[in-house]
């Protein structure tokens, strides 16, 4: 398992370095300029961007024979799937931490740019749940559709994540009375739903991958 995680880490790292560089430059701009929409954009791009980097590596295994080779290693197929989901979680946390530093700096210099501090939490929850939904949709589709369709599947999973998140937010807004309690409740529902989808997707992906032939 340790080797599989290292494998995913090395694969993600080179793209993540480039992405981090861009995000640092963007971050300097976001800290310098006081803008609520810029901050929302930064948080979303940061969290989702690192997740995209983590997901995109899945294809790399199949450019070479490494995807097939991995099956001959002393690891179970379920561990290969587990390592991909763990990698996605790790980079989701990296993304959250990364944008968290920027938002903290901005807050430090200019104060909270939102009406309520809880809005910042909602913004992070939305980004994290989008990253989780994206992974939940992508991984099973990848093993069904095949590596040659990975780019289009990545776009589909991103769009699905947006769709699911906004559907949940709309339903929660319709059902609950406006107020801090409803924002908290909505945020919690968002996170629980995405974590549940991620866990179910792991089981489904493992089942699909068990039967894959290379």
């Amino acid at each position: 398992m340790k080797g599989l995680l290292k494998n995913n880490l090395y694969a993600t790292l080179s793209n993540a370095k480039v992405f981090s560089g861009v995000m640092i430059l963007f971050g300097i701009f976001v800290v310098a300029v006081i803008s609520q929409s810029l901050q929302i954009g930064y948080v979303m791009i940061g969290i989702i961007g690192f997740s995209v980097n983590a997901i995109a590596i899945t294809k790399n295994d199949y450019i070479s024979k490494w995807g097939k080779y991995k099956l001959t290693l002393p690891v179970k197929r379920i561990d290969i799937v587990k390592s991909l989901f763990l990698n996605q979680m790790i980079w989701l946390l990296v993304g959250t931490f990364f944008v968290g530093i920027e938002i903290s700096l901005s807050w430090l210099f200019h104060g909270c740019p939102f009406d309520q501090a809880i809005d910042v939490l909602t913004m992070f929850a939305l980004g994290v749940s989008m990253g989780l939904f994206m992974g939940a949709v992508f991984f099973p589709l990848f093993y069904i559709g095949g590596e040659e369709k990975s780019e289009v599947l990545l776009v589909i999973s991103l769009l699905c994540a947006f769709g699911i998140d906004f559907a949940i937010v709309s339903v929660v807004n319709d059902l609950l009375e406006p107020g801090i309690a409803s924002i908290m409740c909505g945020t919690l529902i968002l996170i629980i739903c995405s974590l549940l989808a991620f866990a179910l997707s792991y089981l489904l992906t493992a089942k699909i991958f068990k039967k894959k032939e290379y």
Partner: protein, 232 residues
């Protein structure tokens, strides 16, 4: 004689390509090298896929170290070294990174031994694999397959990308490997001269069917007889 690998009536059908691997039966004894010969599309890679569980066989039994290998049998896979034709590893890795990854996968991974192979095979440890030639990539895959102290090597066209000098060096490495009596090699190759040099047994496969498995000496006798006949 005890066998490290045994295939009994292994079959696999691919309905889309209309290819069938039909009742393949052969065995590889401990301490021996078995050459696996056949034209392109004969079923060599499919057979190896069935052995290594990258492909699910339809019927038959495959025993490795006397046991059918399931997905959970990671201990059996610890004892197998594999080399595929072409790029075995992602191009953006270096050999050093590869060693670190393998150390996290094989309990018996031997980093000093891997470094020794890198030096012996003249492979730069810090260079990304995308800058390796095909021959270098094959040598690296062979080094990886050997560096975790396997008992069985499964090589699918592993000598294909090597020049004749390097091929001879690799064949020497394989011969040295089977000096230990509990070590064996299944060597699939198009290059029959390689098999002549190292194989103890040769298995011929054609159109998904096993033609025969014979000892190399018998094969050479048959070839000599055929040549003698053609000279008459």
């Amino acid at each position: 004689m005890e066998n490290i690998l045994e295939l009994q009536r292994v079959s696999k059908t691919f309905p889309k390509s209309n290819f069938t691997l039909e009742n393949v039966t052969f065995s590889l004894p401990y301490g021996a090298i078995l050459g696996f010969v056949g034209e392109n599309g004969a079923g060599k890679t499919t057979t190896i896929g069935c052995i290594l569980n990258t492909i699910t066989k339809d019927s038959g039994t495959i025993k490795l170290f006397g046991k059918e290998m399931l997905d959970a049998d990671t201990d059996i896979r610890e004892k197998i070294g594999v080399v595929y034709d072409g790029d075995n590893f992602p191009a953006y890795w270096t050999a050093t990174q590869l060693s670190k990854i393998m150390a996290g996968l094989y309990t018996q991974w031997d980093s000093p031994l891997f470094q020794k192979y890198l030096e012996d095979f003249h492979l730069p440890a810090k260079q990304k694999m995308k800058h390796y030639s095909r021959g270098m990539a094959m040598k690296l895959a062979i080094a990886v397959a050997l560096a975790h102290h396997p008992q069985l090597l499964i090589l699918d066209e592993a000598t294909g990308g090597l020049d004749p000098v390097m091929r001879d060096e690799m064949l020497d490495v394989f011969l040295e490997f089977v000096q230990e009596e509990n070590h064996s090699i299944l060597l699939s190759s198009h290059i029959t001269s390689d098999l002549e040099k190292v194989a103890d047994y040769i298995t011929f496969i054609h159109n998904g069917r096993l033609i025969m498995t014979v000892s190399k000496n018998i094969t050479m006798l048959l070839c000599a007889a055929r040549r003698a006949n053609s000279l008459r």
